[in-house]
């Protein structure tokens, strides 16, 4: 088996959300469901000096994340129907629509918020690493869409050899929770996973 995964380059990402919209178009997602999300993380304070001038230590960076097809998928562990499995060939974490009852346990379990419940079908839906495209030799549509080439996809072993071992950063969860198949190149001003100096600045855009 080859375990596939994503690489995200935080030094290139501008938070433009092209990856999000390319995915929504390809998968014809409802407006209120994203398979990939851009997290805008930041913080900092503003201080006015005696002359009235402002100084600040504001910082902001973006993190693009979808399903990480984890080695220890907590969605799979918690699914009451046993509907979620890992593909033996690719490591894709996938839900069997025949078995899924749309209860939302996976959605509520996943610390990345990857699975969603499609209200119309009452089924769990999420990123399938564009299995059809990848089988045809293309990259997932989000990867091919990024105007700044900030995403990559492939054998996670190759990605780690190329980009390193970082797989957690604020505001994402600790990698130990699910062992995601994600490699991150930290933004220049990236903060460690347990950082408390900032906050998610776009909570209503995370769908």
């Amino acid at each position: 088996m080859t375990q596939y995964g994503f690489h995200f380059d935080g030094t290139r990402c501008t938070g433009c959300k092209t990856c999000v919209l390319a995915c929504k178009d390809k998968n014809d997602l409802a407006n209120d469901i994203n398979f990939r999300n851009i997290h805008e993380y930041g913080g900092g304070d503003w201080t006015q000096d005696a002359a009235g001038c402002w100084t600040n230590d504001a910082f902001v960076y973006h993190v693009s994340v979808a399903c990480n097809h984890c080695d220890k998928p907590i969605c799979m562990a918690n699914c009451p129907q046993g509907a979620i499995s890992k593909d033996e060939e690719t490591g894709e974490v996938k839900s069997d629509p025949e078995t899924c009852i749309g209860c939302g346990t996976c959605m509520n379990s996943c610390p990345y918020g990857a699975p969603k419940v499609d209200a119309e079908q009452m089924k769990s839906v999420k990123c399938n690493m564009c299995a059809d495209r990848v089988a045809a030799g293309a990259q997932p549509i989000c990867v091919e869409a990024c105007p700044l080439r900030a995403l990559d996809f492939g054998d996670i072993a190759d990605l780690r050899a190329k980009y390193g071992d970082l797989s957690e950063i604020a505001p994402l969860p600790a990698a130990s929770e699910t062992e995601p198949n994600l490699v991150i190149t930290a933004p220049v001003n990236g903060k460690p996973v347990d950082d408390k100096s900032g906050a998610l600045l776009n909570p209503r855009e995370i769908l």
């Binding site: 014809d28 503003w46 504001a58 960076y61 990848v134 089988a135 045809a136 293309a138 091919e144």
Partner: protein, 810 residues
């Protein structure tokens, strides 16, 4: 045979057994990751579903005025787009040109398929601006338009006719040109110059360098050097993957240059990519520049040899005769030996810009120490009441430092761009020479006969001879939404005794379209044959060869064919078409560019080859602006009156002496700091905040702003600093009122450290949504409900970011 059937579609669209076969072929350089690519191609089945699907892949291009133009590969089944891919030809490595569409182009399917599209000609039945229409036949629509064109021209003369400024869903080589061609063939129309985008910097470029708004390419930036950008964010304003956002990302990564952006907002160009953001109070860039100049001159860092060789007006020695002996030089102004007797010290500027004094001192030193240093500006600083003079003030910095004409340097204008040089559908000769600033059109409606060269920048004539009585608004939302002071403009347009007839060609019922007497349903560029160049880019020139993605639906018709029908009715049918179809014109335009470029050694494909490729692109040499002038300033003199860079402009001194200007309107020979009207000094207890707009990813101006799928992913919110929010009890996510003397909008607050206190930043372009017969409160959150209608002193352009107001929890 219809035009569409005559196009080359059949030669370049292709049906594959599977969508995936096309993908496999397109993903050049990508190994088959799952090792089973050929299976999909040979079986014609989707690997994961087993469902047989036949896709037709049709190349076309996005077509809005973002500054980029990206390729789209539409996967079409049964006459509908299923999903969209972009340019995946060639290498996918950063630095290699691919015209990758941004989030907007990627969402075009739902926008094209929207149930809100205009499908039939409409006739106004209520009062103008009420938005009440009924469907009519094309016959009736065209008869009415033709007879009104004739009647109004005969009654009021040729200058009463206009083709309104527009930049909507029409990018390509046709745009509004059929309308202009038709107007020209029937007597001409009132011209306009300048745009809502860059009229001020365009004027600044004219009086400083002899013309032009663009400087050197980002791609000339050298390893480790300093880059200083005033109000320029390629990640926000040039988002296409073939555009400057890509070029800048590439050059940052490969040169490790140090980037400083000076902006009221922390833009998307200065987030995780590194670099430093210096927040500045909106509209005060000129004061910062003056203080930087003070430090440069006072510390002996000014490149006197450069200034004496290439520039006019730096010091007494280089002033023109007319200005000598008056302490009228730039150096005098900066050092306080000029008429205002105020040294422009960093402490002086700190109080104006709200940038700490020491940071200004350090910035000047950093600019001096970096050789080369790239100093540029976007269109934000100039889109203000003091925009022209601010743009000129920024341009002085590289002149003082002698940082012009070599790789890594820029002349203070916007980043450079290469062009393939595709022409436009010819409009013919306009018998009318009168030319007014674009932004003057409401004045030209209200009292056109009073507008002159001296009070309104009229060119081509001393004055206008009539007011505007006929407007053709082709693919534009600048009647209201993208203009200024919507409440005022509503009243002007709703008065049917002023403009007597307005026709709009559109794809959606925009706010502007509501003010039409007749609306005709247009086809988008994707629904017609359309070629386009790639927009603003450093590292590529390209042509996208677009075929109609599907046959026209409903009663939508292309503007060329519509104008040809009208030309027939007006007796100029043969002159209009010259026997050519839209495709014939485009072929001619393409062939002309191909021939001209072949003489420069560029090998462009034939039309048919291009259509087989979908997109043709090449990497040009990066532009080092003014290199030839710096090399030999005599042989390659600039097209300014002096032939040199004009820090002091005698032309502007002449305007100052002769133009009719209000007390708070400054046109002057030197690029001094002028706060302009409605700057921060204008703030009051009632309106203590500045309100500025910005270009936002969720729409290009107002194009795509009605595409809900983007708006939910990138929300329309007003940026409010926590300092201002807390003082008013506003929390992140609250709906707030933003209001001033022009009107009131409702919008959600984004409480963020990414904006300087005292300034509320609102994305421009959201659709106005107000009960204009009632309270006029704009629930759409269109910033132009709040922007003042008052032309700027020099360019007579839009002071779009010069606003004051207040916010409160709704």
């Amino acid at each position: 045979m219809t035009n569409h059937e005559k196009t080359s579609v059949s030669r370049r669209t292709f049906v594959k057994g599977s969508a995936l076969a096309g993908l496999g072929a397109a993903a050049m350089g990508t190994a088959s990751l799952f090792g089973c690519a050929p299976a999909a191609e040979s079986t014609g089945e989707l690997a994961d579903t087993g469902e047989a699907v036949a896709d037709t892949i049709v190349w076309t291009h996005c077509a809005v005025n973002c500054g980029s133009c990206c390729a789209l590969q539409c996967h079409v089944q049964d006459g509908e787009i299923k999903y969209v891919e972009s340019d995946n030809t060639g290498s996918a490595e950063l630095g290699e040109p691919q015209l990758r569409a941004c989030l907007r182009g990627r969402s075009i399917r739902r926008w094209l398929q929207s149930p809100d599209r205009l499908n039939k000609p409409l006739k106004r039945v209520g009062k103008r601006g009420e938005g009440k229409f009924e469907e009519i036949s094309w016959e009736e629509a065209l008869d009415t338009i033709a007879s009104e064109m004739k009647r109004i021209r005969e009654t009021y003369g040729d200058e009463a006719m206009t083709s309104h400024y527009s930049s909507g869903v029409c990018q390509g080589q046709v745009q509004a040109n059929p309308v202009k061609r038709l107007l020209n063939l029937t007597g001409g129309f009132l011209n306009y110059y300048g745009s809502y985008s860059s009229a001020h910097i365009s004027a600044a470029g004219t009086y400083t360098y002899g013309g032009g708004t663009y400087g050197s390419s980002f791609l000339t930036i050298q390893p480790g050097q300093l880059v200083v950008l005033f109000g320029d964010s390629p990640a926000d304003t040039r988002m296409g993957g073939g555009g400057h956002t890509h070029d800048f990302a590439y050059i940052r990564e490969t040169t490790d240059c140090r980037v400083i952006t000076i902006d009221p907002r922390m833009t998307d160009t200065t987030c995780g990519q590194g670099g430093e953001w210096i927040p500045i109070r909106p509209g005060t860039d000129g004061a910062l520049c003056a203080a930087l100049a003070y430090e440069i001159i006072n510390n002996g860092w000014a490149d006197e040899e450069f200034l004496h060789t290439y520039c006019v007006g730096y010091d007494e020695e280089t002033l023109p005769e007319s200005a000598k002996g008056k302490n009228a030089s730039y150096k005098d102004y900066i050092l306080g030996t000029g008429p205002d007797a105020t040294p422009k010290t960093p402490a002086w500027a700190a109080a104006i810009t709200l940038i700490p004094e020491q940071r200004i001192i350090d910035l000047a030193r950093e600019m001096h120490e970096s050789d080369p240093v790239y100093i540029g500006q976007g269109y934000g600083p100039q889109r203000r009441a003091n925009g022209e003079i601010t743009a000129r003030a920024i341009m002085v910095l590289p002149q003082l430092l002698g940082q012009i004409g070599k790789p890594g340097m820029n002349d203070g204008r916007r980043e450079g761009c290469a062009s393939v040089g595709l022409g436009m559908l010819p409009t013919g000769e306009n018998p009318v020479t009168t030319n007014i600033p674009t932004f003057e059109w409401p004045n030209a409606i209200l009292h056109g006969e009073e507008l002159t060269a001296l009070n309104a920048g009229v060119q081509g004539a001393d004055k206008m001879s009539s007011s505007i009585k006929f407007i053709w608004n082709y693919a534009g939302n600048c009647l209201t939404n993208q203009h200024s002071d919507i409440n005022l403009t509503h009243d002007i347009l709703a008065d049917e005794s002023l403009v007597e007839f307005i026709v709009t060609s559109e794809v959606f019922m925009t706010d502007s379209a509501k003010y039409s007497d007749i609306i005709i349903p247009d086809l988008t560029s994707q629904e017609q044959i359309s070629i386009s160049s790639d927009g603003y880019s450093d590292n590529m020139i390209a042509v996208i060869f677009g075929a109609p993605v599907y046959e026209p639906k409903f009663e939508r018709r292309g503007i060329y064919e519509v104008c040809a029908d009208l030309a027939e009715r007006l007796g100029v049918g043969d002159e209009f078409t010259e026997g050519k179809t839209r495709e014939d014109w485009l072929r001619e335009i393409y062939d002309e560019a191909r021939t001209a470029n072949a003489e420069k050694g560029m090998d462009m494909p034939t039309w048919d080859e291009g259509y087989a490729m979908g997109v043709w692109k090449m990497k040009p040499e990066p532009i080092v602006k003014l290199a030839d002038f710096v090399e030999d300033p005599v042989a390659n003199a600039l097209p300014t009156p002096s032939g040199k860079i004009e820090i002091y402009s005698e032309t502007l001194a002449g305007f100052e002496a002769t133009w009719e200007l209000a007390e708070d309107e400054v046109v002057t020979a030197l690029p001094i700091y002028d706060p302009g009207f409605l700057g921060y000094e204008a703030c009051t207890e009632e309106y203590p905040l500045q309100i500025t707009g910005f270009h936002y990813k969720a729409h290009t101006h107002s194009s795509y702003a009605n595409n809900e799928v983007i708006q939910t992913a990138a929300q329309h919110v007003a940026w409010v600093n926590p300092v201002d929010a807390e003082a008013r009890g506003i929390k992140d996510g609250d709906t707030i009122r933003v209001f001033n003397d022009c009107g009131e909008i409702r919008i959600e607050a984004k409480v963020t450290p990414r904006v300087i206190p005292g300034n509320v930043s609102i994305p421009q372009g959201m659709w106005h949504d107000a009960d204009m017969a009632g309270d006029r409160v704009d629930h759409g959150g269109c910033i132009n409900t709040l922007t003042k209608y008052r032309p700027t002193p020099l360019a007579k352009a839009n002071p779009q970011h010069s606003n004051i107001g207040q916010i409160a929890k709704a």
